[in-house]
């Protein structure tokens, strides 16, 4: 606890000269972020950060491990696989829209499309694939899209997250937008994502244990006990915004996609572990 405080104070001192640091590259940001969390949690191995609160809290970890024999998302993954493999009305399948037939590619999402000038998340790619093949898009936050996304993540288990910010002003702007969103305080309660997940991971907010920013997107889509089902990362974003009394933005809005881009970039090198469970 005391150590974390020391770091925060040190960070505050370093930040007193933001201009000197302005213009940091995404890779410099990422390295500093990894270093920050390593100092905050010196006993936690880098790869363990994908397990969020289970990496930091022994009691929570035991509860979690006891769930691993029969994970509650198993049925959804099987259902996702079936949907993934079932041809559309035109005879094509999802595989036709993705590199390597959509197998083992989760770690490359989201990416910046330099032709369309926007961030493409896995869920966006799934729905665009449907539309390109004459199918109705799925709802964004849960249900079929979460199941398909969960199946695709399951084929990518263990692959290191590999997000790229190409040398392109628009890509860099999308990354910066996401970063600014992450650190901006919102809502009547005046919380940023970072208020909890950078400043206070490892602490309790009432009966909830706060996880660190590092590794967070690696376990999505996630089965939350609170939801009783799988949900996408953007569903979680909306829930967090709502908790601080900030009006949530639409799932797959440009803002949330840029946020996902920044957040996932920070987790580069960590293994994909989605789908996973959380309280």
């Amino acid at each position: 606890m005391l150590k974390a405080k020391v770091i925060l104070v040190a960070l505050g001192a370093a930040l007193a000269v933001p201009q000197a640091l302005a213009g940091a590259t995404p890779e410099e940001d990422r390295k500093e972020t990894v270093e920050y969390f390593k100092q905050m949690f010196p006993d936690v191995p880098f790869e363990e950060f994908v397990n969020g609160q289970y990496a930091l809290n022994e009691d929570r970890r035991k509860q979690w491990e006891s769930m691993q024999d029969f994970p509650p998302y198993e049925f959804a993954v099987a259902e996702g696989q079936e949907m993934f493999e079932t041809p559309f009305a035109n005879g094509k399948t999802y595989a036709s829209c993705f590199e390597n037939g959509g197998i083992g590619i989760r770690q490359n999402y989201p990416y910046f499309d330099t032709e369309k000038n926007e961030v493409i998340t896995l869920e966006l790619a799934i729905n665009r694939c449907r539309e390109a093949n004459g199918e109705e898009p799925l709802k964004w936050k849960k249900g079929a899209i979460a199941s398909i996304s969960a199946y695709m993540a399951s084929t990518s288990q263990g692959k290191p997250i590999n997000i790229k910010v190409p040398d392109d002003p628009d890509a860099l702007a999308a990354y910066q937008d996401g970063k600014e969103f992450y650190y901006s305080r919102r809502g009547q309660l005046n919380f940023s994502c970072a208020s909890c997940h950078v400043q206070n991971p490892g602490k309790w907010i009432r009966a909830d244990f706060l996880s660190p920013a590092l590794g967070q997107p690696a376990n999505f889509p996630v089965h939350r006990s609170k939801w009783g089902e799988l949900g996408t990362l953007h569903r979680r974003f909306a829930g967090c915004n709502n908790n601080v009394r900030a009006e949530p933005l639409p799932a797959q809005s440009e803002e949330y996609r840029n946020l996902e881009y920044f957040l996932t970039y920070m987790s580069n090198g960590l293994p994909v572990v989605g789908p996973a469970t959380r309280p």
């Binding site: 005046n190 909890c196 400043q199 206070n200 009432r206 009966a207």
Partner: protein, 117 residues
């Protein structure tokens, strides 16, 4: 009970006044303060602070104990609950007054309660 009536009048006065009125709090004031401090929709202090008989409290902020000794200046305590970011820009404590999460009267009731801890 004339005494009772007077105290009711005082409470009403305190509630309707814009400036904080530091009349000696009644038990009702203190109870109301505790209710506001514990309620998730209002102060929700337990989310971050260990205090009193609160269960499943958070540990983001310091424990709220010995409040009168630690914050002898009531007005200063009021200002810090009103907007702690004025004292510490890095704090995650919501600016309860500035953001209208609690009214002046409500913050005063919470202080009445905090001063019993």
């Amino acid at each position: 009970m004339r005494k009772g009536l007077i105290s009711v009048c005082l409470t009403t006065l305190a509630l309707s006044a814009t400036a904080p009125v530091f009349a000696e709090p009644t038990q009702a004031d203190i109870d109301r303060g505790k209710e506001l401090a514990y309620s998730r929709k209002d102060g929700n202090c337990l989310a971050c602070h260990k205090m009193d008989d609160g269960k499943l409290t958070g540990n983001i902020g310091p424990e709220l104990a010995d409040m009168k000794a630690r914050f002898p200046d009531r007005e200063l305590l009021f200002k810090r609950i009103w907007d702690e970011t004025q004292f510490n820009p890095m704090t995650v404590m919501p600016p309860f007054g500035r953001h209208m999460i609690l009214s002046k009267q409500e913050i005063n009731r919470i202080i009445d309660y905090l001063y019993t801890l």
